[in-house]
């Protein structure tokens, strides 16, 4: 094209710019998922809400400390010390994680229910596979596009609480276990992975995000209902009070296993995972005395195995449902 002309040719022209080598396209797809997630206001609202336990806990700690300071004297000091003594730090993360389960579900639905289902409806695969991508790129990208925002959402509040604790309560044993935070991070990674894999798997079965979401929520709540029944059953059998005598069903062969059944739901599994990896059965919330006894932690290896198996199953379902060859019918 001559440079001397004053009138530019604005009709179609080719593209001579750089093209990256045709590998690792999954990251482009994942980045779109992450961007779409971060652009949603609801995502940040849910993230903020999921921090509620940590926030209340911080408020409680703050309140007790102020109370101890405002009425100086050995009694209130001792009271505060006793309060801190009752608190098991790692259990606060367990509760923070456990009490945010519903919000994690909402986030998983928001991020993942439509991830593949809406693509099925709009036949997005036609666009994606006609570019230098394949099925693996697509699935990996979609999975990461749900997993990364979900992990971020789980991580942010606990990170804030961890920093707060590390700065304020070092002297009270907050940092005693150097392996604690990596372990908790593992819990979050597994938790986010379970949610992403399952929701992606369910999403791939539908072509409307709405139906996929309803189905995943259905699975979640039905199993949740089941495990709630089981924990009532367990409490009925073992007695509600910690250390209390057995009320009924003592001779039943089920009594021993019912506490395992409690972990047979999505949220139950994640809480069980958290307990098993952190090595705790749980303790009263907010350091307040509570009569209800916690369900003991499940064994570590089988729990992790179940979680990993669920991830594999979800991804496998999605893999089998995505038909790469249908690009041009």
């Amino acid at each position: 094209m001559p440079d001397s002309g004053l009138i530019a040719d604005l009709s179609y022209r080719g593209y001579d710019g750089p093209l990256l080598p045709p590998t690792h396209r999954w990251w482009v797809i994942a980045r779109l998922g992450v961007r779409q997630a971060f652009r949603k206001r609801a995502y940040w609202v849910v993230t903020a809400l999921s921090a509620w336990y940590y926030l209340v806990m911080m408020a409680v700690l703050f309140f007790f400390e102020r109370a101890a300071q405002s009425a100086p004297g050995p009694r209130s000091e001792a009271g505060f010390e006793a309060f801190l003594g009752r608190i098991v730090w790692k259990d606060q993360f367990l509760h923070g994680f456990g009490f945010a389960q519903l919000l994690y579900l909402i986030a998983a639905l928001m991020l993942g229910a439509g991830a593949i289902a809406n693509d099925n409806r709009s036949k997005a695969l036609l666009v994606i596979l006609s570019k230098p991508c394949d099925k693996r790129d697509y699935l990996a990208g979609k999975w990461m596009g749900v997993f990364l925002p979900l992990l971020t959402m789980m991580l942010l509040p606990s990170l804030v609480f961890f920093l707060y604790g590390a700065l304020s309560y070092r002297d009270y044993g907050f940092l005693d276990n150097p392996w604690f935070f990596p372990k908790f991070l593992l819990v979050l990674v597994l938790g986010a992975a379970v949610h992403s894999s399952l929701v992606i798997g369910v999403s791939s079965l539908f072509d409307q995000g709405r139906l996929a979401g309803a189905s995943y929520a259905g699975i979640y709540f039905l199993t949740n209902f089941f495990t709630q029944l089981m924990v009532f059953a367990w409490l009925t059998a073992q007695g509600f009070r910690r250390g209390g005598g057995r009320v009924s069903g003592g001779q039943s062969p089920f009594a021993e296993y019912v506490d395992r059944l409690y972990y047979l739901s999505v949220d139950g599994l994640l809480i069980g995972l958290c307990k098993a990896i952190l090595g705790t059965d749980g303790s009263p919330q907010f350091g307040m005395p509570s009569p209800i006894r916690p369900v003991p932690a499940p064994p570590l290896l089988p729990t992790v195995a179940v979680a990993v198996a669920l991830c594999v199953a979800g991804v496998a379902v999605a893999w089998s449902r995505i038909r790469a060859v249908e690009v041009v019918r």
């Binding site: 709540f221 029944l229 059953a233």
Partner: protein, 256 residues
């Protein structure tokens, strides 16, 4: 004859392999939960165990199934755009609606009955339990008609009715039954439990009672329950048929 064709067609659609599998899983879950519970409530009378499980499990699954299948009668046809083939056949719209709704009610009843049977087996199928089971089957039959006709009307009036129906089934039916005062009159389940088997008024365990909707005292007599349910079913069916016969149902673009 066309009614039978429609009925069989709807039934075959409702009993597709994937759907059957999903519901078998639900029923298996109910059976498992019932089994564990029954084992833990060893000292309770089997009929009481049965009644309790029945109201916690069976009568929870019933509205859930009804919500899924009643919205498939018309709503799903509109969404998958196949409604056009049904509406342009020489079949009266009432026949069309009623045959499909009958298929839905039958499937819902079958699911309810399977749950009831699973629960009865878990509680130990003695003569007392068998009698309760018989009573419950009647209640389930009426219940599937009631829920299906109710949700059918909802799905005729609203787009995307399933969410509304599920919310009603889970939220309204479970909470309103437990409300203090006379609010329980507004839940279908209260009338169904008046027809079906009833557990002993209280078990002494408030948590259990809350769970099995036994907190509020249900004073509905079976006669009253029959009348109310009959009016509900007939009313919904008549209204639904009228509405369906006079309103437009065209395939809808379903952009989210």
């Amino acid at each position: 004859m066309i009614a039978r064709v429609l009925f069989v067609h709807a039934l075959r659609d409702f009993l597709r392999f994937r759907r059957v599998l999903a519901w078998l899983l639900v029923i298996a879950g109910v059976a498992a939960a019932g089994w564990v519970w029954a084992g833990l409530m060893g000292q309770m009378a089997p009929t009481d165990v049965y009644a309790r499980l029945s109201s916690i499990l069976t009568f929870r699954v019933l509205p859930l199934a009804a919500a899924v299948f009643a919205t498939a009668v018309v709503g799903q046809e509109v969404e998958q755009k196949t409604i056009v083939y049904l509406l342009t056949r020489p079949v009266g719209r009432p026949t069309l609606l009623l045959s499909r709704a009958a298929a839905a009610a039958l499937v819902v009843f079958a699911i309810g009955a399977a749950c009831a049977l699973a629960v009865a087996l878990a509680a130990g199928l003695g003569s007392g339990v068998a009698r309760s089971l018989g009573q419950d089957l009647v209640a389930l039959a009426v219940g599937s008609l009631a829920y299906v006709s109710l949700f059918l009307v909802v799905s005729l009036l609203l787009n995307r009715a399933m969410v509304v129906c599920l919310l009603y089934a889970f939220g309204w039916e479970t909470s309103v039954g437990n409300m203090p005062g006379d609010l329980y009159h507004l839940a279908v389940s209260s009338y169904l439990s008046a027809i079906g088997s009833k557990p002993a008024p209280t078990s002494g365990n408030p948590l259990l009672d809350l769970l099995s909707s036994q907190l509020g005292l249900n004073l509905i007599t079976p006669q009253r329950a029959w009348t109310v349910l009959a009016v509900l079913i007939v009313g919904c069916v008549v209204f639904g048929t009228r509405w369906f016969a006079t309103h437009e149902y065209v395939p809808r673009e379903d952009a989210e």
